[in-house]
């Protein structure tokens, strides 16, 4: 039984934490949140130089050719730091789509540039408010060209290319689109977490390459979302831990009625419950990491489990971190809202908590029926 990351992996995480502590303090997050820049270019470059953008990309494509356990520990550190860079779009989604279904040409063209950070990729999915299902995907693909709109595309205004979910007849198909191509219009959107940009993208008869077969879209999408869900879970776990630590530290420092507020049971027990959520999420995340790294048959359940648990934990910890901080907690000056914003943003990427809850039980049921 060795249900723990290796010393090498822990060392890699420590290295990433040191790097992010230096290059990505919350002032850097605020710079993107409040400023004109859609992301932190210097940080992105630095992450590329560290090799963190190509961890699982094979060496032949300029990556480190390492495994998913390494990517999980880095994702956790990105979450702790609230890194204002397109990591989740480019590394967790675009890269995974290419590895899962990209042609040799597509891989050869984009993977090296993703690993080096020269190119940013994303995934264009939702078209309106509400759960995204095969039925709600209406953007039309015909003769290698796309027409329609996508909304709330993460990093949509800065991505060089996007994997786009489209409708081919009755099927959902995936397409790789160069976002500099004619017919593409991008409109940045105000969101609940401006430290991660989102955009609306309109496609007017835009040239697109197929990614996988015309019937494979939803299957590939589901596979990639499962993998991204586990990676995102680690991002959420990192955020949850940091929010818990902030709350704990403030409870020790802040005095009321002549005592640290952390000596009141109301605060102590709130923090204890946050610790419980964060611990359960971490343990479920490890299960997901194991499944992802070994390609275990349990991957689908493990992904939904990690996703549900980590989403609950980060939202719980970020929300109560504000409550522990009292009035200061909802000032712009304090960092609490940065974590609250991110926790609610990550809860919506890759589909909502409700959808993942439903998916988890559907998958447990399927396995149970099979057994």
């Amino acid at each position: 039984m060795n249900f723990e990351f290796s010393d090498e992996q822990k060392q890699m995480a420590a290295e990433a934490r040191r790097f992010l502590a230096a290059k990505c303090p919350t002032t850097a997050v605020r710079a993107v949140l409040e400023g004109p820049e859609p992301y932190d270019k210097a940080l992105w470059k630095g992450l590329a130089d560290m090799g963190f953008l190509g961890i699982v990309i094979p060496e032949q494509y300029g990556g480190l050719g390492l495994g998913y356990l390494e990517l999980c520990v880095i994702a956790e550190e990105m979450g702790r730091a609230l890194a204002p860079v397109p990591f989740s779009s480019s590394v967790m989604l675009a890269t995974e789509f290419l590895l899962a279904a990209g042609s040799d040409d597509q891989k050869a063209r984009w993977l090296p540039r993703l690993a080096s950070g020269e190119a940013i990729g994303t995934f264009a999915f939702a078209e309106k408010a509400g759960a995204v299902t095969p039925r709600t995907i209406q953007l039309a693909a015909a003769n290698g060209r796309l027409t329609g709109s996508k909304t709330a595309v993460p990093d949509g205004q800065i991505a060089d290319f996007a994997i786009v979910a489209a409708r081919t007849g009755t099927q959902v198909s995936l397409h790789l689109v160069d976002l500099t191509a004619p017919g593409v219009t991008r409109t940045p959107l105000d969101t609940i977490d401006p430290s991660r940009g989102h955009a609306r993208i309109d496609f007017a008869d835009v040239e697109a390459q197929p990614l996988g077969g015309p019937e494979d879209g939803w299957r590939i999408l589901t596979q990639v979302f499962d993998r991204a869900a586990i990676l995102t879970a680690f991002e959420q776990i990192g955020g949850a831990d940091r929010a818990l630590e902030m709350a704990r530290d403030y409870a020790l420092e802040r005095m009321a009625f002549g005592r640290p507020i952390g000596s009141f049971q109301a605060i102590k027990h709130m923090l204890a419950d946050m610790y419980v959520s964060a611990t359960l999420a971490r343990s479920n995340g490890y299960y997901g990491a194991w499944a992802l790294s070994t390609g275990a048959a349990e991957l689908p359940e493990a992904a939904a489990t990690a996703r549900v648990s980590a989403t609950q934990a980060f939202q719980h910890c970020a929300k109560n971190n504000i409550q522990v901080h009292g009035g200061m907690g909802f000032t712009w000056a304090f960092d609490c809202h940065l974590f609250y914003r991110r926790s609610n943003l990550l809860a919506l990427n890759l589909g909502s908590l409700s959808q993942w809850e439903d998916t988890l039980i559907a998958r447990l049921r399927a396995r149970n029926a099979a057994a």
Binding site: T151, I192, F330
Partner: protein, 418 residues
């Protein structure tokens, strides 16, 4: 058991309705109805001006501060008449927002502690909205622990009997447009915290006052920090005896409770409306059993608050003091609003991140609710303080152990790391 007015109440309501129909600024109605979280959106016109206009009109016709004595600009109305006015004023009541603290807290405190001459000078213009008042209580070091305040008031060196104020207040609503304020200070740091405080009222235009807006997590600025540097207050503007500040402040805070039956919003009707229009993976949200099971709990909390308010109104209507039931209002509404906002986001899924009111579902109302609701759970008493109040004042449980009770204020530890 019925929802009907008594004959007298019905007559009063008819009179009110008649006057409002004839005089209300109907052109603002839509704007007032759609004004969501934090402040009024009334286009180019300054909301303060519009608020003062409406208040002046009400005062002229005898509809300002209904529960105040006529001599001080009120109407001498009964509590239930005041509630009926509120029900009939409806959306126009939002124009009274800037006066709530002055009318609800400062006025009553002046009535209890100011001289007759001062009352006749200050209360009528306060009632008529000609002068706006604010309340300077909270401090960085004293949030839930209001009595932890440190702003000093010391006798002027010139022997004039005036007081010199130095220190800082925080969370002061409307400080930047207020003409006067009531201020609680520490006049003796060598005695236990509750014993060394003194209350004053002062001109907010006095030299030495600096006002800085506080930017909230949601980007809005409803509150201010107020800095005092050698601000001079005549002793005649002291409210209550030196050292009695805590007692005076309780009068003020008790009046906070009198706004009954207003029925705090939980956001449920808005959520239900969204569920009638948005789809989950199982179809229309309101038909999704998973959605229904969540909605049901929020529905009964919302109606529960509403009818708890009605029970309090019934007591008022019988001329009784309402029971403690109302203390649950914010404790239920605050967290419920946050849960509802998070679930409404969940329903919108990926597109729920969009906060632009022109693009987001329900005009971005839920994104605004998400970012505003954490403040609701803290302002005017955190959830934890409210549970303590219910446990102690309603259920009669013992107060928390007070380590700072009998300690001289200047010897109470000020840092947890110390």
């Amino acid at each position: 058991m019925n929802f009907d007015d008594t004959p007298q109440e019905a007559a009063f309501r008819a009179e009110v309705r008649g006057w409002i129909d004839a005089n209300a600024p109907t052109h603002l109605l839509d704007a007032l109805r759609t004004s969501g979280f934090g402040g009024l959106n009334l286009g180019d016109v300054d909301p303060i001006t519009l608020s003062k206009d409406w208040q002046k009109k009400k005062a002229a016709a005898g509809w300002a501060c209904l529960h105040w004595p006529k001599d001080y600009g009120g109407r001498g109305a009964t509590p239930i008449e005041r509630v009926i006015w509120g029900q009939e004023e409806g959306p126009y009541g939002a124009l009274g927002g800037v006066f709530i603290i002055g009318h609800g807290m400062c006025g009553p405190t002046m009535m209890a502690y100011a001289s007759e001459e001062q009352k006749r000078r200050y209360l009528p213009p306060l009632a008529a909205g000609e002068e706006i008042w604010c309340q300077l209580f909270s401090e960085p070091a004293g949030g839930s622990d209001l009595a932890g305040l440190r702003t000093r008031a010391e006798p002027a060196a010139d022997g004039s009997g005036d007081w010199i104020i130095n220190g800082q207040k925080i969370w002061t609503s409307g400080a930047h447009y207020s003409d006067y304020g009531i201020l609680i200070t520490r006049t003796d740091p060598t005695v236990p915290k509750h014993k060394g405080m003194t209350m004053f009222f002062l001109d907010m235009h006095s030299p030495g006052i600096e006002i800085r807006p506080i930017k909230q997590a949601n980007g809005q600025s409803g509150f201010n920090e107020v800095y005092f540097t050698d601000v001079r207050i005549p002793d005649a503007q002291r409210l209550g005896a030196v050292g009695d500040g805590w007692k005076v402040s309780l009068t003020t805070l008790m009046n906070e409770r009198l706004s009954i039956g207003s029925g705090m919003s939980t956001g449920f009707p808005e959520l239900f409306d969204l569920c009638m229009r948005i789809e989950t993976q199982n179809g229309l949200a309101v038909d999704d059993p998973a959605v229904r099971s969540k909605l049901a709990t929020w529905a009964v909390r919302t109606t529960g608050l509403k009818y708890t308010g009605f029970r309090a109104l019934s007591a008022l209507s019988r001329g009784e003091i309402p029971g403690p039931e109302n203390s649950i209002g914010k404790l239920v509404a605050g967290p419920t609003m946050q849960e509802i906002a998070m679930f409404a986001e969940d329903l919108q899924a990926q597109a729920g991140v969009i906060s632009d009111p022109d693009i987001a579902a329900a005009n971005g109302r839920f994104q605004a609710m998400l970012m505003r609701s954490p403040a609701t759970r803290v302002e005017g008493g955190t959830d934890e303080i409210l549970r303590n109040i219910i446990a102690e004042r309603v259920l009669g449980l013992p107060a928390d152990i007070r380590v700072d009770k009998d300690v001289p204020f200047n010897q109470i530890p000020t840092s947890g790391r110390a």
